[in-house]
């Protein structure tokens, strides 16, 4: 529970802000690009929802979380390593990997789907607000668009990606922190490595999962 609070609830704010603006920008860009009367304006809502659901929420938000949560995990465990707290656990007969890393992986895999689901709702809501404030597309059309052609499988695909990405973020960052050697400088390096490697892993896994689940 503590890990879920640290890794999940603490990220609600940043995820919410990014999601609302991401959805708003997406809807406005869509409205500007659809300048023909042949394409109905509800397409804006539909495309915004699809983009958010399939890619923006699970992948982009996971990349943001790789930066926020990944650096936290790597620096926390790295600091514990260089201050001998991990050695202290080992001396007591406690497996430090099980005690420190496993709860973080499990917590991330449980809490991240909720964060991503929240991100999807807020991003679609952000698009709707953009329409209201800019007047670029009618609210009713947008709402009709976000309700159209909904496939449950898309949501399943997004959640599978989210859970896999959560595992990658927590495990890679924790690994990076766990094997830190040295002092403060190396903790910083471990934190950076955790973010960089987990981001790269997310991008590669995104391609593989998309090929596996959608192709």
């Amino acid at each position: 529970m503590v890990e879920m609070e640290n890794l999940g609830l603490a990220s609600v704010g940043i995820v919410a802000i990014i999601s609302i603006f991401m959805g708003a920008v997406l809807a406005i860009q869509m409205a500007f690009n659809i300048d023909t009367p042949l394409i109905p304006s509800y397409t804006i809502g539909y495309v915004t929802r699809q983009s958010v659901e399939l890619e923006f929420a699970p992948t982009i938000i996971s990349l943001i979380l790789a930066g926020k949560v990944g650096s936290r995990i790597a620096s926390e465990i790295g600091t514990m390593r260089v201050t001998e707290q991990i050695d202290a656990l080992e001396i007591m007969g406690i497996n430090p990997a099980t005690y420190l890393i496993l709860p973080k992986i499990v917590a991330s895999m449980i809490i991240n789907p909720f964060l991503i689901a929240m991100s999807m709702i807020l991003a679609v809501g952000g698009g709707w607000l953009a329409g209201i404030f800019t007047g670029l597309f009618p609210s009713a059309e947008y709402i009709y668009g976000i309700q159209s052609f909904f496939h449950m499988y898309d949501l399943f695909y997004a959640m599978v990606k989210t859970i896999v990405f959560a595992f990658l973020i927590a495990s890679i960052s924790a690994y990076s922190g766990f094997y830190t050697k040295g002092g403060a400088l190396e903790v910083g390096e471990a934190s950076t490595n955790g973010v960089v490697y987990s981001s790269i892993a997310i991008i590669f896994m995104n391609l593989i999962l998309t090929q596996l689940l959608l192709a």
Partner: protein, 254 residues
């Protein structure tokens, strides 16, 4: 009693500990001394199992520690208390929670029993009214004392201390030394202390191993260390002005 037999440890091409055999006696403070970088901490970590020796074996009261499975090792580790150089207290836990941590992990005591034990251990190291404080709010000496309280919370049979006096003023360092000596006798523990502090050597060095470039160079106790003829040990012992004044006059044994 802890025995280390023919222990060697290298990192890459660098041989840090070379074929060292030591016997750490029960009920006394056993010291491993030497200059920085001579392999003291590496030897300690090999004895305690934090590092795996390349060669040699470690026995805890006759039990071959090096050949044990993880679960067997776990049992022995619950009999070990260790005081790390920086204290190694868990930052996210209060003083009280730090001391209760091993009890929580390995016993089924009630919260009241755990708290009683934590309070007893904290009072044993002369710490009061710090239960709810975090390690970051404590001084260096207090951190060391909390670490000692945590180390003795499970009534350990073996106590390891890695430079317990580093970074402490002479008075606090003396208090820590006294505390280590007292609890060693009180709990009849096998205590191993790594230090390069000559005050500690003269105060608590009931058995002393001097390492020089990864080799066991000399062994003795606090009574005969000042009379050594070993030039490397003499250079180590009589470095400070204070110890130079203790240097015995040739031919006179004090």
């Amino acid at each position: 009693m802890i025995e280390g037999k023919n222990i060697s440890k290298s990192f890459g091409d660098r041989l840090v500990v070379e074929n060292i055999s030591v016997t750490m006696e029960k009920g006394i403070t056993n010291l491993i001394i030497g200059q920085s970088g001579m392999g003291k901490t590496v030897l300690l970590k090999c004895l305690v199992g934090l590092l795996e020796a390349d060669h040699g074996q470690v026995f805890y009261d006759g039990r071959a520690f090096s050949k044990m499975s993880f679960n067997e090792m776990k049992e022995i580790r619950q009999e070990i208390g260790m005081l790390f150089q920086g204290g190694a207290l868990f930052d996210s836990l209060t003083v009280e929670q730090n001391v209760m941590f091993p009890i929580t992990m390995f016993t089924k005591q009630t919260p009241e029993q755990k708290l009683d034990r934590a309070n007893f251990c904290l009072s044993r190291v002369n710490l009061e009214n710090v239960n709810k404080m975090y390690p970051s709010e404590l001084s260096g000496g207090m951190k060391k004392r909390v670490a000692i309280a945590r180390a003795i919370s499970m009534n350990p049979r073996y106590l390891f201390c890695d430079e317990p006096n580093s970074g402490l003023d002479p008075q606090t360092a003396h208090l820590i030394d006294e505390l280590i000596k007292e609890i060693t006798i009180e709990y009849n523990m096998t205590t191993v202390v790594v230090t390069h502090d000559m005050n500690s050597v003269l105060e608590i060095g009931e058995k002393i191993y001097f390492l020089y470039h990864g080799k066991l160079w000399w062994e003795g106790d606090k009574n005969n260390i000042l009379h050594t003829d070993n030039p490397e040990l003499q250079a180590f012992v009589f470095t400070s002005e204070l110890t130079k004044r203790l240097k015995p006059v040739k031919g006179v044994r004090g």
